[in-house]
Symmetry: C2
Subunit: 191 residues, 2 copies
Amino acid sequence: MTSAEKTEKTLRADARRNREKIFAAARELFARDAEGVQMEEIASHAGVGVGTIYRHFPTKQALLTEMVRTRFSRFTEIALEAERIDDPREAVETLIRQSCVEVEGDAGFQLAMMSPDELEWEGIEQEKAAFAEPATRIIDRAVESGAVRSDFSFADFPMLMCGITSTMYFAPAGSDWQRHLDLILAGLRPG
Amino acid sequence: MTSAEKTEKTLRADARRNREKIFAAARELFARDAEGVQMEEIASHAGVGVGTIYRHFPTKQALLTEMVRTRFSRFTEIALEAERIDDPREAVETLIRQSCVEVEGDAGFQLAMMSPDELEWEGIEQEKAAFAEPATRIIDRAVESGAVRSDFSFADFPMLMCGITSTMYFAPAGSDWQRHLDLILAGLRPG
DNA sequence: TCGGAAGCGGAATTCCTGTTCCACTTATTG
DNA sequence: CAATAAGTGGAACAGGAATTCCGCTTCCGA
């Protein structure tokens, strides 16, 4: 039985409610201060005891990973939407720009974007693969049509996101990562 | 009496030796694994007890900041060298590229590049100012000569370094940050 | 050479957080 | 409405890492 099935069927009504409260609290706090979140904090914010969190998630990391996974699926949606855009360059630029927008304001997610392996976000391989498909199509199409430099490929995507995301995460007082993005997009043009 | 003066004059011979051993050990370990360094580790690597470290540096952070400061002065040298290059574009590109090279291989320094305020690198303002002067001249010259996009300015420098550095720091198994740098440099061209 | 000040080592302390445990509640089911 | 299994709270525990403390050692000037 998967974790999802357990949530749906087996769980007692009050337990299901708590699970959701925990999840919501964790998401909010993790988004606010990724590295500083503490279990006690999440618990009190959710109105439960720490023990209750551990009934639902084996470790802190598991809880955080679960949230990153949920959040990650949005990327696939973004990619599928971008794929509908006719102009090849506009499609790539939208893909990248929208991905950045999605990450903005969620420090926890930013951290996950930056540390591919470092922080052991294991178990989101499936989501990554689901995103890679449409994203690769968009990028390859742009390359073939000459809309971006010929050596650009999907392999560059994580690296670019890492760089731009770090600007969001570390930059003092939200100075604009958009500028960083603009430079990158300009750099992607053929020539 | 400044810390430097104390090192020169007041310190007992053996104490001065120890101070240097500690500094060297800390530099090496911090470069290798910035976030993982421990005081015990630095101490044993330097061949002293932890207590001895605390005789020389009030806190761990102070020790690390001291190292970052030392390292930072190299940037100014790089900028002064780059300023001697005639071609304005080549000068900027050298400035940026060499700065990256300087940071490569030193995880601790990479971390310092990324977190301007986060990790409280207080006390290196002077070094930063010394670097800003020649760097600003190089960038302004390039802008005026039309060698780079007209909206580029020194204010962008920290942001770019943050992005590229994060690629070095987080990228799995040293995948090339050079590519990131190339994209940025391409993006800086006028157009 | 000697006295005392400076310096040293490293066990002990402190603080901080994730995780465990279990007596106590609460939902569910017949 | 029991009986019971499921779920809960939060104090206690555990382990990690920075920092302190102090009896002992080493340097250095007279």
